[in-house]
Amino acid sequence: MTLEAQSVQSTENLPAQTNNPIPSSQPLSYRRAFMLVLKRDLTIAMRHKDDIINPLLFFVIVITLFPLGIGPEAQTLSRIAPGIIWVAALLATLLSLDRLFKSDHHDGSLEQMLLSPHPIFLLVLAKIFAHWLITGLPLILIAPLLAVLLHLDENSYGALVFTLLLGTPVLSLLGAVGVALTVGIKKGGVLLSLLVLPLYIPVLIFATSAIDTAALGLPYSGQLAIIAALFFGSLSLAPFAVGAALKVSTN
C-alpha cells in the first residue's frame, strides 16, 4: 500500500462534507436511466465477447450441419429451410438467456438496481434491449447468408428478415420472464427451457408459416401482423412481469 500517505492527504482536500446538510440528489430522467443501463450492459458484453460469439456460432454451426446431414438436394433443403433457421434462432436465444440476469444476481448488482429510485420495468427494458442487440440483431444480419446454404426460395428472403426482426425481440422479452423467475435457483437451466419453450411456439409457427407463404408468392401480412401483435403485447407486459419476478427471486 504505497498509496496510503497520498490518499490520506487527499482526504483533506476534498469538497468539505462535514456538517453540511445532506445534499439532495436528483433522480435521473427515464431516458437517461434507460441509456445508463443499456450502455453498461453493452460495455460488459463488448469486454466479454463470448456472450456475443457463442449464440451466433451455435446458430451458424446448426444451420451448416443440416445440409451435410440431409444431403445437398435443393428441393428438400428449401422445403425445410424456414423451420431450420427459426428453430436454430430460437435455441440460440435460449442458450444466451441465462446471462441476462444471472451474473448480476451473483455479484449483487441486481439488488442495487432493484433498490435504485427508478421504476424496475425501465431498467429491465434496457437490459432486454441490450440482450436483443447482442444476440438477436447478429442473428438477423447473418440469417440471409445462411439461407443461401439451405437454398431458401428467393421470394422468401424478405419474409425471413421481417419475421426475425419482429420475432427475435419477442424471444428476448418472453425469455426474460423465464430467467427472472429462475434466477434464484441454482440449477434452473432445465426449468427455464420448460417455462420458456412453450411460449416460443406461437412465434415459431407463425414465422415459418409466413416464410412458406412467401415462397408460394402469396401475401404473408397476416402472419406478420400476428407476430407484430405478439411483439407489442410482450413489449408492454413482459417488463412488468420481469420486475415482479425479480422481486420474488431476490426475496
Binding site: M1, L3, E4, Q6, S7, S10, T11, L14, P15, Q17, T18, N19, N20, P21, I22, P23, S24, S25, Q26, P27, L28, A33, L36, V37, R40, T43, I44, R47, H48, S103, H106, D107, G108, S109, E111, Q112, M113, L114, L115, S116, P117, H118, P119, T250, N251
Partner: protein, 217 residues
Amino acid sequence: MNTLPKKTSTSLLSGVKLTCIREERLLFDELSLQIHAGDIVQVEGPNGSGKTSLLRILSGLSQPYDGQVHYQGQSISRCREEYQQNLLYFGHLSGVKGEMTAEENLNFNLALHGNNTEDSLAYLAKVNLLGFEDSLASHLSAGQHRRIALARLYQSSAPIWILDEPFTAIDKQGVASLEKLFIEHANRGGCVILTTHQDLISIKPEQVKKIVLDYSS
C-alpha cells in the same frame, strides 16, 4: 427480544412487529424498532441469527413474514420510489462488475442512484484506489471490490444507510476512515444501520444503539 425504547413521531425508519421465518426457523418475532436521524445502530447476534434478514427486510428487498417497515410514518411498500431515493443499501455482495474498471463501476453506481459523477476520482482516492481507476475490477482483490462499492458512501445523499458487514475484507486504516464517515453522517442528520462482528473502534459505545438478535428456538 430486544426492542429499541422510546416512541416518538419523528422516527426516520421504523419496523412494526416484524417477524421473519427462514427455512422453517423463527429468526425473530414481533421485533419493533425505531430509528431516528443521527442514530448509529449496530445489529448484533451470532451467525445465522437473522442480521442480514433484518437488514434486507428494512431495505425492502425481502418481505417480512409479518409486520411492516415504515419510512417517516408511511409503509415503504406505498412510497417505494421516495424511500429508495433516501436509502443506501450495501449488502454482502458488492455489486461490482468484473468486466468494468473501478471508475466505471463507481460512476454507474453513482449515476444509478442519482448522484453526480464528476468527483468520482476523488472518491476513489478516499478509499485508496487512486491508480487503480483504469484497472478492470476482475484484476482487483476482494477488499478492493468492497472499497469500490463503499466509495459511493462518500457522495451519498441518502439519509438512511443500511450496511451489511461493511468492514469485511477492509484493512484497519480503511475501517477507521469508514467509522469516521459514519459519525459524520450521523452528525449531518443521517442514520446508519450496520452489522459487524468487529468492535467499533472510534465510535464511542454511548453513540451506538444496539439491537441484539439472539432468538433461540
